[in-house]
Point group: C2
Chain length 124, copies 2
């Protein structure tokens, strides 16, 4: 397991995956809507394909996840979190899944997600 005791989590140019995970996510109105639970890397290109944002749930029950294309996330240094350029209501309607629904094959849902956010697919 990662020991996470590397002091350098962020430089001018880079940020560690461990530091990205757990970072808060805000709507365009500045309302906190969740946090980055994990990021998914495209194995072929080495680029971040999407983040898995966790929100809601209680004691781990019923938590749902929004896959968020990496290209819609902008880091806000004042809030120390990522901002998605969508209003909260629009984000609440975005595709979200339980862990079981996310499953092991993102081909089942990635078209819907990248179409919803209107960004180019990571897999092409």
């Amino acid at each position: 397991m990662a020991t996470s005791n590397v002091e350098r989590n962020e430089s001018a140019v880079c940020i560690s995956a461990t530091k990205v995970n757990g970072t808060d996510v805000y709507s365009s109105e500045g309302e906190k809507i969740g946090h980055v639970d994990d990021i998914m890397l495209n194995k072929r290109t080495g680029s971040v394909a999407y983040a898995i944002m966790g929100f809601g749930g209680f004691l781990g029950m019923g938590e749902r996840y929004h896959p968020l294309p990496w290209s819609v996330l902008t880091y806000d240094t004042e809030r120390e979190g990522y901002v998605v350029p969508l209003a909260k209501a629009r984000l609440e309607e975005a595709p979200s899944y339980t862990p079981a629904e996310l499953g092991k094959d993102d081909r089942r849902w990635r078209d819907m997600v990248f179409t919803y956010y209107n960004v180019p697919p990571y897999w092409m």
Copy 2:
């Protein structure tokens, strides 16, 4: 913090950062030489710039880290780990640092590292 309870850690195309962290790293001779402690993302491009490989140390004392350009790591499905195309002796001589030496600014050492592995710099 990341809750890491997302069931899908890997698909045909993607792998989660949480799953990459902790993965073993092998030399070209198949000898285990360390593990991925964290991965560093280029904030501008969203690509993995390099991995921080931990090795050696005892009870967390004296552990040193090899920054490994992402492009030298190939995943070996049989070993379930990454392979670096260098012999162990050559890897032992590779640039390594304490957490304090890695510091907050990789510009102090990244030239030396990427030259050692003879791969293009991530920052250009």
